[in-house]
């Protein structure tokens, strides 16, 4: 169920304190794989209703940052706070993941299940919803992304755009407080990008809190209320879409935007 929040993109200029505590707060986060330092001293937070777009060149650590937030990667230093609670070393990361959803570049739909059961598995196993309730929930969210007519299709029978819309519906069925998107349209043929971005825009308009790693600058410009530019494992610059796209302060940001 998408939150019926009023704090959405219109409230772009409110700071964290004005809305209340951030849902996710990242403090001095660093991550290295062996000697390879991928993230350095990352600080940022996300409040209810925020649509944060993370942009930056390939290899800048965007995916790694996202994967730290839902504890797929263990940060080397720093903390991740969820509603003010330190979850960095949570013993049961699955409890956090029930509230922080993720949509992948490669969809990761369950190949053994049809569209409906891809969406009902989480609610049934995690929230112990009855079959009927889970199916009702699934159909509601499949309707949101326009995939309700395909309930009995297997993932391999769908186009990339259709798969991604189902993956979004699957994530929505968990009623996440924050939904993470890692380049959700990068694996798609150009003609399918639009349908997925349109579905994501609908979610943003409904007030869903989202962090979106994307190369789709027009989406970031239009839908985000906060844009983070990363390069070389650090946040180089962040601000409203107007600030970042119309009036970037840093050379690296200007260079990146001129190329994209």
């Amino acid at each position: 169920m998408v939150e019926n929040s009023t704090s959405n993109i219109q409230n772009a200029n409110l700071t964290a304190d004005e809305i209340g505590q951030p849902i996710v707060k990242i403090e001095h986060l660093g991550k290295s794989f062996g000697d390879h330092i991928v993230l350095k001293d990352i600080d940022f937070s996300v409040c209810k209703g925020d649509v944060t777009c993370v942009i930056g060149p390939s290899g800048s650590g965007k995916s790694t940052l996202l994967r730290c937030i839902n504890l797929f990667e263990k940060p080397t230093v720093g903390r991740i706070l969820f509603h003010g609670e330190d979850v960095t070393a949570a013993r049961k990361p699955n409890l956090l993941r029930q509230k922080v959803g993720m949509v992948f570049q490669s969809f990761n739909l369950f190949n053994n299940l049809n569209v409906l059961h891809n969406c009902t598995l989480g609610p049934r196993k995690v929230f112990k919803l009855s079959k009927a309730d889970a199916e009702q929930l699934a159909i509601k969210h499949l309707k949101t992304v326009g995939m309700d007519a395909f309930v009995n299709a297997k993932p391999r029978q769908l186009s990339g755009g259709q798969k991604q819309r189902v993956a979004i519906a699957r994530a929505l069925c968990m009623n996440p407080e924050v939904l993470l998107f890692d380049e959700p349209t990068s694996a798609l043929d150009p003609e399918m990008v639009g349908e997925v971005l349109a579905a994501m825009k609908t979610l943003a308009e409904n007030g869903l809190t989202m962090i979106v790693v994307t190369h789709e600058m027009s989406f970031a410009r239009e839908v985000a209320n906060h844009v983070v530019f990363m390069d070389g494992g650090v946040i180089v610059e962040e601000g409203t879409p107007q600030q970042i796209f119309e009036n970037p302060q840093e050379e690296r940001t200007k260079l990146f935007l001129s190329r994209n």
Binding site: R91, Q98, N108, N114, L116, I139, A149, V151, A167, A171
Partner: protein, 249 residues
């Protein structure tokens, strides 16, 4: 050959029955053992030191089991287990049928453990991540997402094990298990017709393995389901009709 068949067909059928019984149960139990070991081996390393030590010890024991049972002939295993049991129980042997079932099961389990592990690691990492991202636990992920796919992928290898078992149960004659080969030896001692008896038995073995092979291929096709799906029309369906369509599709 036909005389032997008409005279001894009941004995042959009993032999076929025992052969198929031990091959079927051995394969199924072996598969269960293989799945349990496969799942155990793919559990992510626990965080606490003590749990990690226990897991490592378990790993060594399982590796020893797999290597020993793959590295020795089943005929020898049968003798060691059957007479080992008698040794420990003052000469009383274990029931031959039970012994046969145990031997074939744990022998098959050793092979299945590797087959299942291969099946699990061949599943795309994205399937695990997709499930973990929903908040499913490792066990939930395994049983709902990974194993169904892994089992489908390893079905040809499992069928192969079943067929090997049909043939290899013949070694159980060394402990006096009345499977097909044992019956054949029995017939030969009564009739002295060595060649026709074994030719007949060879044909029977082939019918069994070929039949099973066909049957399992049919099962594979069934499991893959239909190639098409129905796109539901624009009529406004209620939740129940969607669910019904999803079940039928």
């Amino acid at each position: 050959m036909w005389n032997i068949l008409s005279e001894y067909y009941i004995d042959i059928l009993i032999g076929v029955g025992y052969t198929m019984l031990v091959a079927l149960i051995g394969t199924v139990v072996g598969l269960v053992i293989g799945v349990l070991i496969g799942v155990y081996r793919t559990i992510p390393d626990p965080k606490s030191k003590a749990a990690l030590v226990f897991k490592k010890i378990g790993d060594y024991i399982l590796t020893a089991y797999v290597e020993i049972f793959r590295g020795t002939p089943m005929m020898v295993q049968a003798m060691v287990i059957f007479w080992g049991f008698a040794e420990l129980n003052g000469g009383r042997t274990l029931n031959v049928t039970v012994s046969g079932l145990i031997i074939v099961s744990i022998n098959t389990g050793a092979y299945m453990a590797e087959i299942v592990r291969g099946g699990i690691i061949s599943i795309d990492k994205g399937q695990f991540e997709g499930a973990h991202a929903l908040g499913l636990t490792h066990t939930q992920t395994m049983f709902n997402v990974v194993l169904p796919q892994a089992l489908r992928n390893i079905l040809p290898s499992v069928s192969n094990e079943f067929i090997i078992n049909i043939k290899d149960t013949s070694v159980l004659n060394v402990i006096g298990f009345t499977e097909l080969f044992f019956v054949a030896k029995d017939i030969v001692t009564q009739t002295y017709k060595t060649f026709p008896t074994y030719l007949l038995v060879a044909i029977v073995y082939f019918i069994l393995t070929f039949g099973i092979s066909m049957l399992l291929r049919f099962v594979e096709r069934k499991m893959d389901g239909s190639k098409n799906y129905k796109v539901l029309g624009s009529q406004n369906l209620d939740a129940e009709s969607y669910a019904r369509e999803a079940r039928n599709g």
